[in-house]
């Protein structure tokens, strides 16, 4: 009897509203519209090879969008995320090449450097109390300069040397940048990394204690601290999570192309943020989802390849992207307003 009563009360929840409460609904609608649109104007995009290319494009952005989305749900930005990918790739490449070590040594050093950059951002944020926009803008400029300056100092060039003949390269490429065949098309392993990160990120956010803390520090850090949530540790951990993603993305880039251009990555940090926002992450924190950010990255992939398959000038890509951002944000805001409207009583 009591159980039945229990079940009734716990279930009392309109299904439609429950669905609308999911942060990724707006992005899902947007993705369906974009896919339908490009399927009509660029039928090539439906071919299995094109799907693989779209997913690859989405994964290169999507890997970073996982870390960036979690950070944004935790209430912070990371403007250094784009160049941090290049920093990681440069570190691995130059360390291994200059010291003549196995490339895996460089890969591990790059991991430490990437986590270190994340920890630096996080510690600066909590120690100084400055907004993350300023702290990471500083890191962004410092890394951008250091990428160029140190690469020139070490290699005398703007790009790193080819490391494809070095020991450990083949195994590292197999892990970070190999391709496999599925359904008659070649697919990059970066798609697997992406999906794995989305799964882990979603699990952490919704099922782990840390996920509860991420929502709480983004929703209201002072309240979270008052009930015993380790706010400082959570925020630093989130920045280090972005560092981890930057390392994975950087290693993919290094082993896919064998050399790294030291000036790359600028502007990509905004694309990660756009993917997260399109996916339903609130700019002010406390709300969002990793799956949403993945859908945001997918929209990127579809639009960037769709423009090409439609035979249009690629210049239109950014235009579409901007329109998508505005549209998705408005849809998200509208959906949330509907779902969160207070009960009349």
């Amino acid at each position: 009897m009591q159980l039945a009563e229990h079940a009734e009360r716990m279930k009392h929840r309109p299904a439609a509203r429950a669905l609308l409460l999911q942060p990724e609904v707006g992005a899902l609608i947007g993705a369906l519209i974009v896919i339908a649109f490009f399927s009509m104007v660029a039928p090539t995009i439906r071919h299995v090879g094109s799907v693989s290319t779209v997913l690859y494009q989405s994964s290169t952005l999507g890997i970073m969008a996982v870390g960036v989305a979690l950070l944004m749900i935790g209430g912070e930005f990371d403007l250094s995320a784009g160049v941090a990918v290049i920093t990681s790739a440069l570190t691995a490449s130059m360390f291994a090449y200059q010291l003549g070590t196995n490339v895996w040594v460089g890969v591990i050093i790059a991991l430490l450097v990437s986590l270190g950059i994340g920890a630096f951002n996080g510690v600066m944020l909590v120690r100084t109390g400055l907004p993350s926009f300023l702290v990471t803008l500083g890191t962004f400029l410092m890394l951008q300069g250091a990428n160029l300056a140190i690469t020139r100092l070490v290699t005398g060039n703007v790009a790193t040397n080819d490391i494809s003949n070095m020991a450990g390269f083949d195994s590292a490429r197999a892990i970070f940048a190999s391709t496999f065949t599925i359904g008659g098309a070649d697919a990059s392993v970066s798609i697997v990394w992406w999906l794995a990160l989305v799964a882990i990120g979603t699990w952490v956010l919704l099922r782990a204690t840390a996920g509860n803390w991420i929502f709480a520090v983004g929703g209201n850090a002072a309240s979270a601290r008052a009930v015993g949530v380790p706010v400082t540790r959570t925020k630093i951990g989130l920045f280090m999570g972005v560092g981890l993603c930057a390392w994975i993305a950087g290693m993919h880039q290094l082993f896919a192309y064998t050399t790294v251009q030291s000036g790359g990555g600028v502007g990509l940090e905004l694309e990660y943020i756009v993917a997260a926002v399109v996916g339903g992450c609130l700019l002010t924190g406390g709300y969002g989802s990793v799956v949403g950010a993945a859908i945001g990255a997918l929209i990127f992939g579809v639009v960037s390849q769709g423009v090409v398959y439609a035979g249009w000038n690629p210049d239109w890509f950014k235009f579409f992207l901007g329109a998508m951002l505005l549209l998705a944000t408005l849809v998200n805001a509208f959906v949330r307003a509907q779902a969160y409207r207070r009960r009349a009583a």
Partner: protein
């Protein structure tokens, strides 16, 4: 334990004082908080109400006098220490996160988990059930414990915060102006749960500047004025008019009344 009877002394302040630099925030405060009673602390803005609860809840230790908890001298170094001793404070801002669901808020910072690391995960079923049970135990009727707290009314939020404090073992519940921002109906709901907490055997310290609300649930009234105890009386020793009179500062109100009347004649 011998002191588990209603009416037994839980907290006792004797000649407690607090200074912020040269400024005397409180002096010579004597206060007795009993089990199963609502102790109302009233006073105007700046009377020292906040300072008093900060001492009891461990935010600022007192400078002079003694505070005893169950007869033992205590001095809390942090809010966590006070909480561990069973003294929970529900502040006006409640420490609830509006965008998070009721059950996630209920267990925030004290999450229940299941499984082994690295797969240790939230025990969502158990937390939802416990939240639902606890709210039901206090006869709180929320339609949906998955709803974000932001969708609850101000009164409902207060009640959820009170239920949370009780669930996590509070013996002394300090409520900082719980009805200040609420309408009449909502205030009534909160006052009902204050009474429920008292009946459950808690000692409630109810901070307010509304004598009407205080008189509805209070067993014992302490009125502060400029850092001193202006009145310390039990309910049967006074009427609500006495309370209003003391809160307004007695003599001050008389002279204000006089002034108003004069300025009224000028107009």
């Amino acid at each position: 334990m011998t002191n588990q009877r209603n009416g037994s002394v839980v907290i006792q302040l004797a000649d407690v004082s607090k200074y912020y630099g040269n400024i005397r925030a409180l002096s010579g405060i004597n206060l007795t908080v009993r089990r199963g009673e609502v102790t109302c602390v009233l006073g105007d803005n700046g009377a020292g109400k906040s300072t008093l609860i900060k001492i009891i809840s461990g935010i600022h230790p007192h400078d002079g006098g003694v505070m005893r908890l169950h007869g033992k001298d205590v001095r809390f170094a942090s809010p966590r220490k006070a909480l561990d001793a069973g003294i929970a404070t529900v502040y006006q801002d409640l420490a609830l996160i509006p965008l998070m669901s009721v059950w996630r808020n209920f267990f925030l910072g004290s999450e229940l988990t299941t499984g082994m690391a690295p797969l240790r995960r939230l025990d969502i079923a158990r937390m939802r059930r416990a939240t639902d049970d606890e709210l039901k135990k206090m006869a709180i009727d929320l339609p949906d414990i998955d709803a974000p707290v932001g969708r609850l009314s101000g009164g409902e939020r207060q009640v959820v915060a009170i239920a949370r404090a009780i669930f996590f073992g509070a013996q002394v519940l300090i409520l900082d102006e719980p009805t200040a921002a609420l309408g009449i109906k909502q205030s009534g709901v909160v006052l009902k749960y204050i009474a429920a907490a008292r009946d459950a055997g808690l000692s409630v310290i109810f901070i307010s500047h509304n004598p009407h609300h205080a008189y509805l649930v209070g067993d014992h009234f302490a009125v502060l004025n400029l850092g001193r105890m202006e009145l310390d009386a039990r309910r049967d020793e006074m009427s609500i008019d006495d309370l209003i009179q003391h809160m307004a500062g007695g003599a001050e109100l008389k002279s204000l009344e006089h002034e108003m009347r004069r300025s009224g004649s000028v107009l």
